[in-house]
Structure formats: C-alpha cells, structure tokens
C-alpha cells in the first residue's frame, strides 16, 4: 500500500529538492535546534531537581495539555488537506482548509491562555520550582512559534483567496504548512515532558 502524500504526477520532486523551499527549512531546523536545547535543559533540571519535577507535574492541568495536543494535531491534519486540495487545483477548498488550520491555531492559543489563567489562580507560578519554571519556558517559547505560524497561515489564506496558488505553483502555501507541522513536532515532544512523565 502506497502511503506517502506525494506531489501529483507530472510534478514529482526533483532529486535533491525539498518540500516547500529551502528558506523555510532553515527556519524549521533553527526552531527544532532551539527546542532541542530546551529539551536538554529539561533533562538537566529533572536530573538535578527530581523532587521539583515530581511535585510540579502534579500541579498542572493534564486535560488542558491533552486538549492542546488534539487541537494541534487536528490543525496539522487540516494543513495537509489544504496542500492536497491545492495540488488538485481546488483553490477554494484549500483556502477553507487553511482557515480550519488557523482556527485550530487560535483554539490552541485560547486553551493556553485559559490554562495560564487557571495556573495563576491555583498558585502555579514560575518561582520556587524548577519544573514549573521549565513549563513556562517551554510553553511560552512554543506559543511564540504558534503565533508566527498563525501569521504565516493568514498570509497563505490571503494569497490563496486572491488566486496566487495553482497545482504547479504553491510553494508559499506548502512552506506555511511545513512550518505549522514543525511547530506541531515541537509540541509532540513538549506534551509528554510536561503532562505525562512523572
């Protein structure tokens, strides 16, 4: 069974080329390197302050983390559907899938805002516990990337609405969705580090 989401026939990827464009991959690799350093910091603090991590993880609202993850994965799925639609020349459908992706991103931000509000009301603040400090460090940084991703999606939606993309030329749309998936990848790691592991 063939499983890959490949470009349509007649637009096969050239050897050595990359999905989207090289520029977005520089950004994606920088983003993932930044998060890799944060993951090393998480491991370092977990090793040196295990009691903070045991107490800290129990203070978080696991349901909010699960909701964030499901929304992010669903939003990523919509981004894939947008790319598939434009490859078929369905510009209107691609635009609608991109709007769905953006709504997912905004939903992610709203859940996080509510979670931070809940945290503050329940005394989960970034002082006195290295786990909670890491939690804010990781989630705020990720939040910034979600905002960048949303801005990229808005740009791609506008370009799509004005008919800038076609089955043969949709590099900008693909780049915006790739960045979105990279932000999803970072969250795939962050979620268990903060909400699952004890």
């Amino acid at each position: 069974m063939e499983l890959a989401v490949a470009p349509p026939a007649g637009r096969s990827m050239l050897a050595g080329s990359v999905p989207g464009n090289r520029g977005i991959w520089v950004g994606i690799l920088c983003e993932l390197t930044e998060f890799a350093l944060m993951f090393v910091a998480w491991a370092w603090f977990r090793f040196n302050h295990p009691e903070d991590f045991r107490a800290g993880s129990a203070m978080l609202l696991t349901g909010a983390g699960i909701a964030n993850t499901v929304v992010m994965l669903t939003s990523g799925y919509f981004a894939v559907r947008a790319l598939l639609a434009i490859r078929r020349g369905e510009s209107r459908a691609a635009s609608n899938w991109l709007i769905g992706t953006l709504v997912g991103g905004i939903g992610f931000l709203l859940i996080k805002a509510w979670e931070f509000h809940w945290n503050i009301e329940h005394g989960v603040v970034g002082t006195g516990n290295s786990f909670v400090a890491m939690y804010y460090y990781l989630t705020f940084n990720h939040l910034v990337h979600v905002v960048w991703g949303c801005l990229g999606l808005i740009w791609a939606i506008l370009r799509c609405r004005f008919g800038a993309y076609s089955p043969d030329d949709h590099e900008g749309l693909e780049a915006a969705t790739l960045y979105w998936h990279a932000t999803d990848l970072a969250w795939i790691v962050i979620f268990p580090l903060l909400y699952v592991l004890r």
């Binding site: 063939e2 998936h181 999803d184």
Partner: protein, 89 residues
C-alpha cells in the same frame, strides 16, 4: 499487488493514529506504571508520532535525502534523551 489509498484517506488515518497515541500516552501517565516503564513507552510514542508527521504530513519521503535523515535522527535522539532522563530519575 499494490493498493493505492487516496491521500485524503491516508491523512485521516494518520491523524486518527496520532490522536490515539496521544490519548494512550495520557492514559498511561495516569496509570500505576513505574517511571522507567513510563519513560520507555513515552519515548517510543514520541518517536512514532514524530516519524509519522515527518513522513506523512511534511512529505519527506525521498530516499537518501539528508534533510529526511536529519529530521528522522531528531526523533531518535530526543526519545533517547527522554529514556535517559527516565532511567536516571
């Protein structure tokens, strides 16, 4: 014989798999599993989810691509870090 699944249907299955793995790991986190077992399973789930997104959502399917290698390596090294942190905790 090769059966070709529509890309839309394939993307839907991948999304369902990713959500199921997320819910599974959350359930495991609430169970009585030891920290080491939890770290091992979570590391495996993170690796599978990452590799699924890289292949099926980002479209990095070209055999021999250095970019694909780097991205795949990321989801070997980071789970290894999770496993190491779990074994030292």
């Amino acid at each position: 014989m090769t059966t070709r699944t529509s890309p839309e249907r394939q993307a839907t299955w991948v999304w369902l798999g990713l959500v199921a793995l997320t819910l599974g790991s959350a359930w495991l986190g609430e169970s009585a599993a030891s920290a080491m077992v939890l770290a091992a399973v979570v590391a495996g789930i993170v690796a599978v989810k990452g590799l699924l997104v890289i292949r099926h959502y980002m479209g990095l399917t070209e055999v021999g691509s250095r970019l694909r290698l780097v991205m795949r390596l990321y989801f070997v090294v980071v789970p290894a870090l999770i496993l190491l942190a779990g074994s030292l905790a």
